[in-house]
């Protein structure tokens, strides 16, 4: 597999634990924006995160393929699959660990979406190259939505 992926653009949306309410709505919102740009999305997460997404979009207007996070990591590590972009939803150390893992095993452009009450602490722990969107948002998705709206055109044009 080449260092940089070619062909139609696609994006991995890497979900963390769904305990922070805005994750599901923001993942659906981002999937919708990417789809409108012609970018295919694949969503990965643990069972709870995936179930939240699939229940919220039962007719799959916004989401496409949804896969188990361990299976996704295995496919990336074994170079069986790759993506142009990886948007990682992060609100704790575990989420950051998953994002760092994808960074280490995939050439996908990394965009870290950091939110939750400890967003500053988590953002300060990032020590690998990535675009970082960090917002204090837990229950109200609007601050994060505004930030994504602000940087999204640049991300899809420049990364």
């Amino acid at each position: 597999m080449p260092d940089t992926k070619t062909g139609p653009r696609d994006a991995l949306l890497l979900l963390g634990c769904p305990q922070v309410p805005i994750q599901t709505s923001m993942a659906l919102y981002l999937a919708s924006k990417l789809r409108k740009q012609g970018i295919t999305t694949v969503i990965t997460g643990n069972r709870a995160a995936r179930t939240n997404i699939e229940v919220a979009d039962p007719d799959r207007h916004y989401i496409g393929e949804v896969i188990d996070i361990d299976r996704c990591i295995a496919q990336l590590a074994e170079k069986k699959r790759d993506f142009h972009y990886c948007f990682s939803f992060i609100h704790n150390d575990a989420g950051l660990s998953y994002a760092a893992t994808v960074k280490a095993i995939s050439p996908a452009a990394q965009i870290l979406i950091i939110f939750g009450e400890h967003y500053q602490e988590v953002a300060s722990s990032v020590d690998f190259p990535a675009e970082i969107i960090a917002v204090n948002a837990v229950h109200n998705p609007m601050p994060l939505k505004a930030k994504i709206d602000e940087v999204f055109p640049w991300v899809v044009s420049n990364l």
Binding site: A100, A104, I105, F128
Partner: protein
């Protein structure tokens, strides 16, 4: 290693961070190795922030284990064959 619960193991640290795991391994286990995230061990790809440390201690293997909703654990898994394999491979 499909699931932490299905393995015979001892939890050395729970609700911890990748940095604390790294520091614990460096200070407690002289026989340690640096692996890349995604390194396959016990049929599982390791999750973590590089440099990712694992260790052997006698017949036991010490690895970090991360679950999205439960955070990071440092676990000790008795497995003489894997310990010997790591000593032989000396992964980097």
């Amino acid at each position: 290693m499909g699931c932490l619960e299905s393995m015979k193991h001892e939890i050395l640290m729970r609700d911890t961070t990748f940095k604390e795991c790294r520091e614990y391994i460096l200070s407690h286990f002289p026989e340690h190795f640096v692996v890349l995230p995604g390194y396959k061990i016990f049929e599982k790809h390791l999750i973590g922030v590089p440099p990712l440390y694992i260790a052997v201690d006698g017949d036991d293997v010490i690895i970090p284990y991360t679950k999205p909703c439960y955070g990071t654990f440092l676990i000790r898994v008795p497995d003489p064959e894997m310990a010997a394999e790591l000593r032989q491979k000396k992964p980097k």
